[in-house]
Symmetry: C2
Subunit: 362 residues, 2 copies
């Protein structure tokens, strides 16, 4: 009764997004029969040994893929990175203390709003003056801040930090949309967090990779559900975790590992981005929307110089089986999201369409 389907759609969705085909196959099989147990992954107890093994493997893979120091801990929660925006200042900002944030777009702005509701929050740099089309550089971070927060990749605006800011205070990074896309030096971060639904897995889980030594320093009394230390101590089992989202994340991370890890992901992602941005730059009908040096490898944003031609271009890429490249309303135009699992063949299909369009309408 189950039918397998070969890729017939080139999925450039910004997230939730494409995952590896073999992950979908394993994930579907587990819904019917998890590891030959006769039970669906959806009906097993989160306290069963098989699921405890899944959780442990998922936690270990996060650390292994990113080369995290041994003492770092991994927490999986529901609620999305948006819940993280609330939890970060609760867990790292002392009453009377100060937080430092960079504003590089919609998600950074939401994180800042949450921090301001909790305590003194300084925006040390912002690219709002040019509709978030670049990454601010050369700013300074106050040495008396409790922590410094930034967003490594800006899904909506298509910008990405190529070098991470040097900080005199603990660094917290929302890596939702480029985690596992490249190597990072985890020891530089007190906390890396992100929603699963880009490179890591499906919607429904949020990962926190944290240095336990940087936790529990605020003296703030927290609800156990908002207390990262509680969740870390309880191995993400304080309450029922999002079982399936953790399972599929584990499968996806295992796939990354078999492919060669984040070093290989970085290579593939660079090749895809080169291919696409080369077309944007070579074809005069198109224009990139961000500073060239800050272009995201994950989300390439561009517009048609002649907006009136959009319906014509749209018809062309839809016919080619391309999905999800319409830009966010705050940028307009187009956004091609090229997460880890997107094959370069899909990018080639898009580039072919762009070339064909440019030939006719250039």
């Amino acid at each position: 009764m189950l039918t397998d389907t070969k890729i017939k759609v080139h999925n450039f969705s910004a997230g939730p997004c494409i995952l590896p085909r073999e992950v979908f196959e394993q994930a579907a099989q587990a819904v019917l029969d998890f590891e030959g147990s006769g039970l669906s992954i959806l009906e097993i107890s989160h306290r069963s040994k098989p699921f405890e093994a899944v959780m442990a493997k998922a936690q270990a893979l996060v650390k292994e893929l990113l080369g995290a120091p041994d003492h770092y801990q991994v927490v999986f929660l529901g609620g999305g990175a948006s819940m993280g925006f609330h939890m970060v200042p609760l867990n790292y900002l002392r009453p009377g203390g100060k937080a430092a944030y960079v504003n590089t777009g919609e998600w950074a702005s939401r994180a800042i709003k949450e921090a301001k509701a909790i305590g003194d929050t300084v925006v040390v740099a912002s690219s709002e003056d040019k509709n978030f089309s670049y990454i601010p550089k050369g700013f300074s971070i106050p040495a008396d801040a409790d922590f410094f927060h930034f967003t490594s990749n800006n899904t909506i605006f298509g910008t990405q930090y190529k070098q991470f800011p040097k900080s005199p205070v603990p660094v917290v990074c929302d890596m939702s949309s480029d985690i596992f896309s490249r190597p990072v030096n985890v020891a530089d971060f007190a906390l890396i967090y992100g929603g699963a639904q880009k490179n890591m897995g499906p919607a429904g889980a949020t990962v926190y990779l944290l240095d336990p030594n940087a936790l529990g320093k605020t003296g703030r009394k927290l609800s156990p559900m908002l207390d990262l230390k509680n969740h870390a101590d309880k191995e993400s089992m304080y309450n029922t975790p999002p079982v399936y989202a953790v399972y599929v994340s584990m499968l996806t991370m295992d796939w990354m590992k078999r492919q060669g890890g984040v070093v290989e992901m970085e290579k593939r992602n660079a090749a895809k981005a080169r291919l696409l941005y080369a077309a944007v730059d070579a074809l005069p009908v198109f224009q990139g929307t961000t500073a060239v040096e800050d272009r995201s490898v994950m989300n390439a944003t561009f517009v048609l110089k002649d907006k009136a031609l959009e319906p014509t271009f749209d018809a062309l890429w839809k016919e080619a089986g391309i999905s999800g490249i319409r830009g966010h309303r705050s940028v307009g135009g187009y956004r091609a999201s090229m997460y880890n699992a997107l094959p370069i063949e899909s990018v080639q299909v898009l580039v072919d369409v762009m070339n064909e369009f440019a030939k006719k309408h250039g």
Copy 2:
């Protein structure tokens, strides 16, 4: 490559728990190819029309199955009912106001702890004196409380309200473990909430069925992530919802509807409970752990009078393909969870094992 599996395990797990076999089949198929789109349900945007339709259908089914008044709203969030324990007092308890709670076990206790951290919280009744083996009755609820909170079914202790308390103030009920098991008069409740992972679906989603007129009355400034009004206004799309958990919940509710709704569920659940409790009462080797009138139809708890025989009994039920009937550590003994999707045939297998055991060791 996908293999279907007939039921070979009788799954009495307390939650996450058994769901209908046909739901697993639909849910597995959607992981490969969602509604013939060529895309997996795990890779589609939560803002795509097909998923918006899933969300709308899931919301409508909650209201339809429970016969909720038209103006009630349904919210799906990640985070579990444990996050609800924190959100309930934030959303319903005025600063300087008072909350009234009944303590009937572990989850009620956790809810009370969260409420106490936020404001004045009165425990109007408790069954802690007898290890939560009964439901308190005849208590009074202060007319000046902002709301009254109770837990309709106590998964760990196996007790359940047969009649809901009359309250002079708005009623909030954690129905995590018996929602959709029987008809309720939704208009009596300001809020019904619960984790999905019993009768409604897999782990990873939490449902809030609420009267919008009872919201936004505290004057409290809330994080948008903890503000039920924000999530209701944004149709559960303030941030990325737990897509797959909502989808599988929708499938499960659709199955309930096709089976005859909560009236039919109540009939089936009553038949299963009668069968099991009759064995507990008829066989002198076993003993129920709760007051007879408060016995849960969802979770039947019982012990062996001779604890030394547990390994013998355990070997017997395991051999019969039964899974998940070991009791929670705070009660010991056994707990047979008989949620909506558990067929009466599985209960019969357990009863047969109990009879066989009693014959040999009675």
